[in-house]
């Protein structure tokens, strides 16, 4: 038996409240005798119950006490009675008792079966509800966690002095457009952050290029609707300019320079 689950079902509270059927009560008592942990838990529940009710106690009128003692004096204390077992007379009576007992057992069993079926159904329902709730929570948690990871990564990039920010301003093709590149020359990492870029048709994508020794090097493709920082392909030492062109979805090996949208030079240090 899982003690923890048993305790959290609230069965001990119900027991202390006297809310269980005789059968359930007997079962709890059996478990109590077997597991000291349950015994301890019950003691605490009883203590809470007692404390709470004692605090909420109401004193009866004084006359009640006097009347009570009068009644008790007049009321003989029941002595333990010894009842002799009647001797088994004949086998016929035994069979009668046996038949009666089996009928009784059958009745009790079917009653308990129905009773527990009802209970089982209701707990099954609550369990389903809880499982669903739990899954939703887990999903929400994952989402929040992912967002937090992203934000942490962004802060790392913004905070890290090794990242150079390259401001790419709009060309004549798209004077309103603007995007930033964060480039770490040492680790070659490149991140892109869109400030303002037009939506493209579904067949096209933006492609980022780094100009090294006068030659364009592919740094990856992206769409206009990304938010936050987007990790691009690594760019090694020597890039002097970053630029973005419009290319067919998936990108090309060499840029269509006439479609250039934004471009910016890497600021030399010192």
């Amino acid at each position: 038996m899982n003690i923890h689950e048993y305790i959290s079902s609230g069965v001990l509270e119900a027991y202390a409240l006297g809310a269980l059927s005789e059968q359930e009560q007997a079962e709890v008592e059996k478990n109590l005798a077997q597991y000291p942990e349950l015994q301890r838990e019950l003691e605490q529940i009883e203590a809470v119950q007692e404390d709470m009710l004692m605090r909420a106690a109401i004193k009866p009128r004084a006359a009640v006490k006097a009347a009570l003692f009068d009644t008790l004096d007049a009321h003989p204390k029941a002595e333990a009675k010894v009842i002799a077992m009647p001797p088994a007379s004949s086998s016929a009576t035994i069979w009668k008792y046996a038949a009666a007992a089996s009928v009784a057992i059958a009745l009790i069993t079917s009653y308990t079966a129905i009773h527990y079926h009802g209970k089982w159904r209701s707990s099954e329902q609550s369990l389903q509800g809880l499982i669903a709730q739990n899954q939703r929570m887990a999903q929400d948690y994952d989402q929040v966690n992912n967002r937090l990871d992203n934000i942490e990564k962004q802060i790392d990039v913004f905070d890290n002095p090794s990242f150079k920010r390259v401001i790419m301003k709009g060309t004549d093709n798209a004077p309103e457009s603007m995007a930033y590149v964060y480039w770490n020359e040492a680790t070659k990492e490149v991140y892109l952050s869109i400030q303002n870029m037009k939506e493209l048709s579904k067949t096209n994508q933006y492609q980022l290029w780094a100009i090294i020794d006068g030659k364009p090097v592919d740094a990856g493709v992206f769409d206009a609707d990304i938010s936050g920082l987007l990790k691009m392909k690594d760019i090694a030492r020597g890039a002097v300019t970053f630029a973005v062109t419009v290319e067919p979805r998936g990108g090309k090996e060499s840029p269509s320079l006439q479609t250039m949208q934004v471009a910016g030079n890497v600021v030399k240090e010192g």
Binding site: A47, Q49, I58, V64, S122
Partner: protein, 149 residues
């Protein structure tokens, strides 16, 4: 004991009568008490509770409570027992104040209004399992409030 009985029955004369019955029952059955199955207080509580609940189900009380409506309200306001009950209830509220609403509700109905868990579940359309877990949470909460370790 009297508090338990009185809160369920809400009428001084009936509560006193039931209290008397409770003590007679205890007197007769004290040899049945088994310390291994719980505290004496719990045993007494359950006798008192059951006796009071039996009483509410008996004819005389249900008749009185059914003749409700405006007369009942007026008579209750006139009734000094009613006022007394209100004052005593402040003590209960004090203890329960720290609990979330739904746990307060469960404790109040189970302990102070004489509802059984099944009745509470049915009447207010709460799954029985929820009633149980709420009671459990409430009792745990009260454990801290009352400083029981």
């Amino acid at each position: 004991m009297y508090g338990v009985v009185f809160r369920i029955l809400k009428k001084e004369s009936v509560a006193e009568e039931v209290l008397q019955d409770v003590f007679l029952k205890v007197w007769d059955r004290i040899h049945q008490y088994d310390a291994g199955k719980g505290k004496l207080f719990t045993w007494l509580l359950n006798i008192a509770r059951n006796q009071a609940i039996d009483k509410t189900r008996s004819r005389e009380i249900s008749k009185e409570q059914k003749t409700g409506g405006i007369e009942k309200l007026v008579s209750r306001i006139d009734n000094e027992e009613y006022i007394e009950q209100r004052i005593e209830d402040i003590g209960v509220r004090e203890i329960l104040r720290g609990l979330p609403q739904e746990q307060q509700f469960v404790v109040e109905y189970l302990y102070f209004k004489g509802y059984s868990q099944a009745e509470l579940a049915e009447e207010f359309n709460i799954p029985l399992g929820t009633v149980k877990t709420r009671l459990r949470l409430a009792m745990q909460h009260l454990r801290t409030t009352l400083g029981i370790t």
